[in-house]
Every structure is written in structure tokens, then in C-alpha cells.
Symmetry: C2
Subunit: 338 residues, 2 copies
DNA sequence: CTGAAAGCGCTAACAG
DNA sequence: CTGTTAGCGCTTTCAG
């Protein structure tokens, strides 16, 4: 391999033909003689020529890059969604640039700015927890740059979205608790403005109604998704005069924190309190007792999201689709009365 | 914002000057009158001009992109190292393209191919577990493309590396066990060809010597870093006639698996067996008992690695540096006799 | 069937 | 102080 990357010019000189002939030959243009095509391809293969993406980009005004912005990189949830996105992107010859927002609104905005400068062709985004102002996304839409949301979404009337069936999942958890003889069911939610908080809360309320259980506002807790905040929410639940006998949370991380607090206060999962998580992280089977959780089709979610993205790139006038994917409650030890 | 991105040409036309004048004005060239510079910058700012990176790339033959290849995205370890790399990269106006190898040799090679085509300016790599053939890296070196390794490294005589002080850390763990009255100390290692396996094993052996403990080969176990393989290794240790009374593993994930197996077999951590992990993942404080682990300066590792990378880009003839970073044993519940 | 020339957006050397 | 020109690597008319 050499320092100087091989260009069409090099091949043209070597073969004693013009640059445009080589260009055409490489792409099987009917105007070029078969014999010459063979020679050109041979030479290109030998020196393993690959077209300069910047020259192509400049010419075609396309970078073949997609900006993906996720709240964090650490959870299996996002990691797996990204794998799905990457798989589809690769099939289409696209590159994925991953930019973590670390749950910060300003970082999210900044990432978008940077990726715009880098001329990504479009964005796939999962909202940061802090984001309540959507003007940076409005700008993307006005600039007619493709944009798709997954999991945590907004502006559904303008932007295609892929989400999980949070409502049904939360409803199912509530029923599952009820069937395991828990009647004082609590839910630790996330920030109100997030669709995932809202839908899971609605499912929880519907589940209570389904089971003829009364809704008690003190059992509906809230946190900012951080471990400390989740711990505090759990503490509030545990210090109620009538403690809940079942708790589920907006995601596994929150529930891991709850599990720790419950243990600290001398109570036992699942004997005293049943516990269920959301998103089914790898560590659900590492903790003791193993955590019952809602499994998301994460890889699939990535693939579907990328699919919608490419539909959009091909036709920006498409009305925005909203896809909802089915989840599945994986029952382990933490939610079954012994 | 508009569909057509604004170019120097647009500004030039608007101001009735030539393109090169605008170009110079934007970069405070002394030849341009102060008054004109102000007008140019004002106009550019108003229409929020940003230079087309592809045009720049084509001209300067630089993409300002770094390819980062990591075994996985899921652990806090890599996520945090990447944050460190990104921070430095951003300061230098560079972009990071993250490409997970999923611990697969072929995926690692393929990622490198793809990133080469995309004309990244260089690579920052942590070896996949499977990698024993280094020819794809030799090619990068021969092509005089900057390359730096971190954590899992090879070709140290040609490539700058940043690693943790695995030897001292493992030695320290062994001593820590000894001080907590454990004399039958086992170690679950990873594949032999990985430097991190090797150095930790050497540190373990030195630690035994330090404490006047005899090395017993049956206490040196091995796994392929997967949970199942780690579980099997643990089972082998637990079925020994003389079970170990302390175990540490090459990383936390392995040790989480060990913890699960120990519990399954009716034994207690730390009463029957002390346990220590490596890399100090977030979940170390989630499991019960909380896991003692070796904390790596991950963010710092990312920053230092990126630093070496940029030193290299500025001077490819620099002899390869090897930096070793200090770790710290964070003592929690799993390694202290009660 | 093949070559010459223009142009994507930008900088730099060369003229004025 | 400012404009003209060439060229980075490629595709695409337009001419042969």
C-alpha cells in the first residue's frame, strides 16, 4: 500500500486512455468496448482503486453519512438499536456517525450543529431527557433534511417515529402484578414531557382499572432517570404508611436502584415487594433475584428506524409514518411470589 | 434555513466581490481591507455560512475524521474512553467515527476496510478478542496512516499504546485477598494472546510470590470473556476438591457471571468466597454484595490516547510511545470478610 | 467507441 | 488591496 491514494488519473495514464474512459469503464458504460472494460477493471483491481468519497461528495452533494444522536452509549438498549441502524445503513452504503447527547439538551443541539457542518445527509434521533424545546428539530425539518425519531419522540405530525408499545406493556405489567397477588402497585416514572413516561403511565392507569384497583396518587412516583433520583423516589414509596407491594419503573436502571434501596431497608424482593423493569438490559439476569422486565425488539427497532429514514431520503414528501413495535414481558424471579 | 447550502460564491455575488476575496476576508487575510472584512463576515454570519467539508477535504486531502474501533459499545469502559477521545478530537476540529467490532476479527478487518474507503485520517483501536493476526494493522502502518492502540494492544514497537497498569493492579488484588485471610486465590483470565490477560496473570503470580503463597495451576482459569464461558470456568473452580476462597476475573462482566454461579451453588460472597472484578463497571454497585473492582481512569485513557494520536498525525516519524496509566482498587463489600 | 471540457466549493499562486 | 486561474477527483454533457 502506498501513501498516495490511487486515482482515476493514475489508471488512465497507465493504460494510455483518458480519465473519462476509465470512469465509464469502471461502471460498465455501454459505450466502452468489452475488451477495454476488462483491462480497466483489472488495473483498478490490481492497485485496489476506490473512488475518493470527497470528490464524489462534492460532485453529487452527498456524504453518505447519517447522524445518529442517542442519550447514551452505555445501555444495551441503544447499543443494540444502533447495531440495527448500522446493518441497514451498510446495505445502502451509508456510514453512521454516533453522537451521544449524554441526556443533555445543549449537547444534543451542539451535536446537531456539528453534524450539520459535516453535512450528514440526515438524522436519526432519540431525544435527550432534558429536551423540551424542539426548535432545533424544526430547523432540520424546514431545511428538508431527513429526520426520524425512535423511542423518545416528538413532533409526530411532521416526523416519522418508531416506538415500543409502552401503553400495552405497562398495562400488562400491572395485570401481571395483580395476578401475583399484589394490589398496591406503584410506578416510578420519568419526566412528564417524554412520551415513554406518559404512555407507560397511561398503561399503568388502564391496568389498574382493568383489575378494579383504585389509583392512589402517592403510588405514582417520578424521577429524572438518574440512580440517585430513582433511589429517592423509592425511599418515598417505602416510607409511605401503606407501602406498595409491587413496583415497576420506566427502565431497568431505575429499577436496579430501587432494588438496592429495598434491600437496604431490610425488605425482600420478591417476598415483600414485587419488582419489574423496562427494556430488559443484560444485567437483569445478573442481579439477584433476576429481574422481570419488558423486552424490547431493539435490533429490529434500529432496522425499522433506518428503513423509515431511507424511505424518507427517497421521497421527502412522504407523510410521516408512526410505527409501534411489540414488546414482551420476560418473567424472571423478581415478580413472582414464592 | 434553506435547502441549498450557502457557498462562497453566493456571498461573493451578494457583495459584488470575487470569491477569493470572500475566502480571504473570512480568514482575516492582511491583504483585505478591514472594512470589507467586516462586511464579509457580517454577510456570512447572517446566512450562517459554513465551509463545505468535502470541498476542503478534496483540496487538502484531509477528512478530519478518526476511525475508532472498539470491541463493544455496551460497557461503561469503552463508552467512557470514547468520551475522552471525542473531547480531544472536538478540540482539534475532528470527528470520531465509532465502529464496533463485536469482538470479531473479521468485523474488525471489515471496519478498517470501510473506514479506509471513507478516508479517515487515522485509527484508534482496541483489539477484538479474536484478533491474533495483525496484518491489517501492518498495512495501516505501511500506508503511513496514524494508528494508536489502547487497552488491548499489539505491535508495541511500531505503534503508540495506552494501557492500564494491569500487572500492578492484579498484584494488588492478590495482596488484598491475602490481607483478608484468603489463601486459595483463583484468577479467571481471558485469551492468552491478549496483553491484558497476560499482564494480569503475571501480576497475579507476582502477588502470590509476594505473599508466600504457592501457585496452583488449577486456580488459574481461562474464559473467552463471554458470560457462559465465564460461568463454566467458575464451575470448574467450584468443583475442585479444594475450592478457592477468593476469585478475581479479567473484567467485571466475567465476575458478575462468577457471582451468579457461586450463588447458584449455595455459597456466599464474601463469607465463603471473596470476589474482585476489573474495570469497575457501573453495575458493580448494583449487584449484591457490591463488587470490589479495579477502577480505570477511562476518560483519561481516552484523552491520552487521542493525544498520542494527534502527536502522531503531526509527526509520523515519532518513535512509538507506550503510556501506562495508574488504576485504583475500589474496595466494596464483595472482598471483605465480615 | 473515446476524448475534451465544465463544474461541484474551496484555497493558493500569480497578476494586476 | 483585489481579481484571475488552476487544480484537488470525479461525472457528465458535448464533440468528435
Amino acid at each position: 500500500m502506498v501513501k498516495h491514494r490511487i486515482s482515476l488519473k493514475d489508471i488512465a495514464r497507465e493504460l494510455g486512455v483518458s480519465i473519462s474512459t476509465v470512469s465509464r469503464g469502471l461502471r460498465d458504460h455501454p459505450d466502452i468496448s468489452d475488451e477495454l472494460i476488462v483491462r480497466i477493471k483489472e488495473c483498478a483491481g490490481l492497485r485496489n482503486y476506490s473512488p475518493n468519497p470527497m470528490a464524489m461528495g462534492l460532485l453529487k452533494q452527498r456524504t453518505k453519512m447519517i447522524g445518529v444522536i442517542v442519550p447514551d452509549l452505555v445501555t444495551h438498549f441503544f447499543s443494540s438499536v444502533i447495531s440495527g441502524i448500522e446493518a441497514v445503513a451498510k446495505e445502502k452504503g451509508y456510514f453512521v456517525i454516533i453522537s451521544p447527547s449524554n441526556e443533555s439538551y445543549s449537547k444534543e443541539k451542539e451535536n446537531i450543529q456539528n453534524l450539520m457542518r459535516a453535512r450528514v445527509e440526515g438524522f436519526i434521533v432519540c431525544l435527550s431527557q432534558q429536551t423540551t424545546d424542539y426548535s432545533h428539530f424544526e430547523q432540520i425539518i424546514e431545511a428538508e433534511i431527513p429526520l426520524v425519531f425512535f423511542d423518545r419522540v416528538c413532533l409526530k405530525d411532521k416526523v416519522p417515529t418508531v416506538t415500543a408499545d409502552s401503553f400495552e406493556a405497562a398495562r400488562g405489567i400491572t395485570r401481571h402484578f395483580y395476578e401475583n397477588n399484589a394490589h398496591r402497585i406503584a410506578y416510578i416514572s420519568g419526566p412528564d414531557h417524554l412520551n415513554i413516561s406518559d404512555e407507560r403511565r397511561m398503561g399503568y392507569l388502564q391496568g389498574l382499572t382493568d383489575c378494579d384497583l383504585e389509583f392512589r396518587p402517592e403510588y405514582l412516583e417520578k424521577c429524572d432517570l438518574s440512580t440517585t433520583s430513582a433511589a429517592e423516589a423509592t425511599q418515598r414509596l417505602l416510607s409511605l404508611p401503606l407501602k406498595p407491594d409491587a413496583i415497576f419503573g420506566i427502565n431497568d436502571t431505575v429499577v436496579f436502584s430501587a432494588m438496592k434501596e429495598i434491600r437496604k431497608s431490610g425488605l425482600n424482593v420478591p417476598k415483600d415487594i414485587l419488582l419489574v423493569g423496562f427494556t430488559d438490559e443484560f444485567h437483569a439476569t445478573v442481579v439477584h433475584p433476576m429481574l422481570t422486565s419488558v423486552m424490547h425488539p431493539t435490533y429490529e427497532m434500529g432496522r425499522v428506524t433506518a428503513g423509515l429514514f431511507f424511505e424518507l431520503t427517497e421521497n421527502m414528501d412522504l407523510p410521516p409514518k408512526s410505527v409501534e413495535l411489540k414488546t414482551k414481558l420476560v418473567i424472571r424471579e423478581s415478580s413472582v411470589r414464592q
